[in-house]
């Protein structure tokens, strides 16, 4: 009888709180619905248990009856209240890589890049080890923190990749709308909003390394809205501090950068899905350092991107076999001044654009085995006279890179990958790379985006 009395007291509490807040008709309806749902759940559970009990009693010989009922009374729930019952979900990503390079440097012709855009370190080493904590804050907010421990310049440092809050539908925003604030891997192209441990290759493609220093995760606010259409369509936009690549040296006067995006997607039959998106990100770079602080850019920078992803399960079951095609295109327009301290150019005016793209295909031919190929290419800008001979002077060369990979996924939580890269980032300087990587996840492991 404990359960019905609990239901009754819950109902009373609800009734009292509803009068106290002078609830509207819809609130009362919702509460009635909830009470009804609760009652039904308990009633059906009790009915089921009673029928089971009578069945067992009728089946068992008399001697066994006592034995069958004894554990039931012994299993009385112990009421323990512990401080950690509301602990957030905790997940860890362990990541290690052996890298062998034939070339001695990986400088990009025509670009000054950030530290995370450089190729990894040679030899064996651990990559970013990620910690994630996430939980609903209350009925209106969700919070998540992802910190990575990375080794930079011989020291282990904590890098806060994400620390954001997000509205829950209980917030009462229009249906389909979400607001996210803090630091996050923002909506831009396909890979940017994914943590690198979910990538299909051991490193990011060239345009991500050059234009985004791996990923754009500035401090900011983003609103997104899934439109009420029969197919998937979503629009959104955000405002950002302007501290992370492609920006840098924020003025601190509010939002130095703005973004907007639109996406559509759907299915073709039962076995094929696709998504297409367009994105803009533009703002002020108050001082963006590149190539280890030897190059500085100040001015307006605008990035436009488009992405397409297509998945196909040839047998109808993506668990068994799947083909994944994906491509992204970036176009960056910059108007400001560049200065290459190493080349001693002095501040030189720059107003031009650069482009970059990649396309990749991954084929899962067995439930645990996948192979993939990726091609990425950059189209360098023409440099003004003042920057001739600087790091930005590509001499008309356009860097490109090929990558081939094979990986083995033992379970959702572990993957081992072998990858071969052939990069020619500066004319005539070939770099052949072998990467052997493991990615393991322990603890809570959230669902992955499409």
């Amino acid at each position: 009888m404990r359960i019905p009395s609990f239901a009754a007291s819950a109902a009373l509490t609800l009734l009292f709180s509803s009068t106290a807040f002078a609830a509207s008709d819809s609130d009362i309806q919702a509460m009635k619905a909830e009470i009804q749902a609760m009652r039904q759940t308990y009633e059906s559970r009790i009915a089921e248990l009673e029928s089971k009990l009578s069945k067992i009693e009728s089946q068992k010989p008399a001697g066994q009856q006592a034995a069958a009922t004894a554990p039931v009374s012994a299993r009385k729930p112990a009421r323990t209240i512990r401080d950690n019952s509301f602990n957030p979900s905790v997940g860890l990503i362990l990541n290690g890589k052996y890298s062998g390079f034939s070339g001695d440097s990986s400088e990009f012709a025509g670009f000054a890049i950030g530290e995370e855009g450089e190729r990894g370190k040679q030899g064996f080493g651990i990559d970013e080890s990620e910690f994630n904590f996430s939980s609903n804050v209350d009925d209106k907010f969700y919070g998540s923190v992802t910190a990575a421990i990375v080794r930079e310049a011989g020291e282990d440092k904590i890098e806060l990749e994400e620390a954001f809050i997000q509205t829950l539908p209980g917030m009462g925003l229009p249906k389909g709308m979400n607001v996210k604030a803090g630091r996050a891997l923002w909506t831009l192209g396909y890979l940017n909003e994914h943590h690198s441990h979910t990538d299909d290759f051991a490193d990011r493609p060239l345009p991500y390394r050059v234009f985004l220093n791996s990923a754009f995760n500035d401090d900011g606010v983003e609103v997104s809205y899934v439109l009420p259409t029969n197919f998937y369509s979503e629009i959104g936009g955000g405002g950002f501090r302007g501290d992370d690549t492609p920006f840098g040296g924020a003025s601190g006067g509010g939002f130095d950068a703005w973004s907007a995006f639109a996406r559509i997607g759907g299915d073709i039959g039962d076995n094929q899905s696709w998504r297409l998106g367009g994105y803009t990100l533009s703002g002020d770079a108050g001082g963006r350092a590149g190539n280890g602080e030897t190059v500085n850019f100040t001015g307006d920078t605008s990035l436009y991107a488009a992405d397409l992803r297509y998945t196909w399960a040839p047998t109808g079951n993506p668990r068994a076999q799947e083909v994944m095609l994906q491509g992204e295109y970036f176009w960056r327009s910059e108007d400001g001044t560049y200065e290459d301290f190493a080349a001693g150019t002095g501040a030189a005016g720059f107003d031009d654009n650069a482009r970059g793209w990649y396309a990749q295909g991954v084929y899962k031919f067995l439930p645990q085995w996948r192979i993939g190929y990726r091609y990425s290419r950059l189209i360098t800008p023409d440099v003004p006279l003042g920057l001739l001979g600087s790091a930005l002077d590509a001499g008309g060369y356009n860097p490109d890179a090929h990558a081939v990979m094979a990986d083995w996924t033992n379970s959702e939580f572990s993957r081992v990958r072998l990858q071969y890269n052939h990069e020619e980032l500066t004319r005539g300087r070939n770099d052949d790379q072998i990467l052997l990587q493991y990615i393991m996840s322990i603890g809570a492991h959230g669902a992955h985006k499409y």
Partner: protein, 303 residues
């Protein structure tokens, strides 16, 4: 000011979005069996979207764009729960931003929460494979579970769409009578299967076997979700030589190779059970699912 333009464009689009009115109740079913149950109880009053096909393994589905759009439209969602959809449902619920279908509300019904679960793991450790802390989630293959879930779904339909409450109740009354009769008939038909030993590919049929009193003689997967390995199959073969199994069964989405290898070695036929509504060429409804499954287990209509 030009940098504010994207934001202004965005605001403009937001206000231009038309509000669409839906006449029918939109129901989102994670798996075909729940779509079939909703069809029995909802009839013409509901518009049903099924997120997965019988060919897809419901553990491993992507949070596809089409599913986000459907979740946003939904007034009522019925899924299995017990972590079966843990890899995709949370993303859909978050992304769709639909207050009607959030956990704990009337708009989200999880079938596994309504029935007693089998095989609750004693040891929670990922070294045990893809185990579900709540227990085995494939609850729909016991008709007694379907009866309980039908009752709960009817109550939810009546709550969410009160205007049609009488119609839902009337359909439930008809369905539950028919279902009760059918269940008794199936139990009589399958009486001969009691005690039979059957090998399964994945523990997808535990509720069916428990209901019919069939013994599980072995599992092709060494651990839940881990594909069959040569050494495990070899060990299983040794075991089956001592005490033979009558059948080797798998779902439409399990790969055939392991079953067929074992079938050749042991002589026990390897068959595909429909597992869910529409899981074999005959198709049909929930009644057909059970009729066909029992016929296949008994050896009728098998090739």
């Amino acid at each position: 000011m030009h940098r504010m333009l994207p934001a202004l464009f965005f605001l403009g689009l937001m206000t231009a979005v038309p509000l669409s009115a839906q006449a029918k109740l939109n129901l989102f079913a994670c798996e075909p069996e729940w779509a079939a149950l909703a069809r029995e109880l909802g009839g013409d009053d509901v518009e049903i979207f099924t997120a997965t096909t019988p060919r897809q393994d419901p553990h491993h589905v992507r949070a596809k764009p089409s599913l986000i759009a459907a979740m946003r439209r939904a007034d009522l969602v019925i899924c299995t729960g017990a972590s079966l959809e843990v890899g995709w449902l949370p993303i859909l619920l978050q992304k769709a931003g639909n207050a009607n279908t959030q956990p704990g509300g009337a708009g989200l019904l999880l079938a596994a929460e309504l029935v007693p679960l089998l095989e609750k793991p004693v040891r929670l450790d990922r070294a045990e494979g893809d185990i579900h802390p709540e227990g085995n989630p494939h609850v729909h293959l016991n008709p007694h579970n379907i009866a309980l879930i039908a009752q709960a779904l009817t109550d939810r339909l009546k709550t969410v769409d009160a205007a049609n409450a009488n119609a839902y109740q009337a359909r439930f009354d008809v369905f539950s009578q028919k279902w009760c009769d059918a269940t008794q008939r199936w139990e009589q038909e399958a009486a001969g299967l009691k005690g039979a030993a059957i090998v399964v590919h994945h523990k997808a049929f535990s509720y069916l076997l428990a209901w019919l009193g069939i013994q599980e003689a072995g599992v092709l997967e060494p651990k839940p979700g881990i594909p069959p390995s040569a050494s495990h199959l070899e060990a299983l073969l040794q075991k089956l030589t001592l005490s033979p199994a009558r059948l080797i069964v798998r779902t439409p989405y399990d790969p055939a190779d392991a079953s067929q290898w074992l079938s050749q070695k042991t002589g026990a036929p390897a068959i595909v059970l429909p597992f869910t509504v529409g899981g074999d060429a005959a198709g049909g409804d929930l009644f057909a699912l059970f009729e066909r499954s029992i016929a296949l287990l008994k050896g009728d209509g098998r090739d």
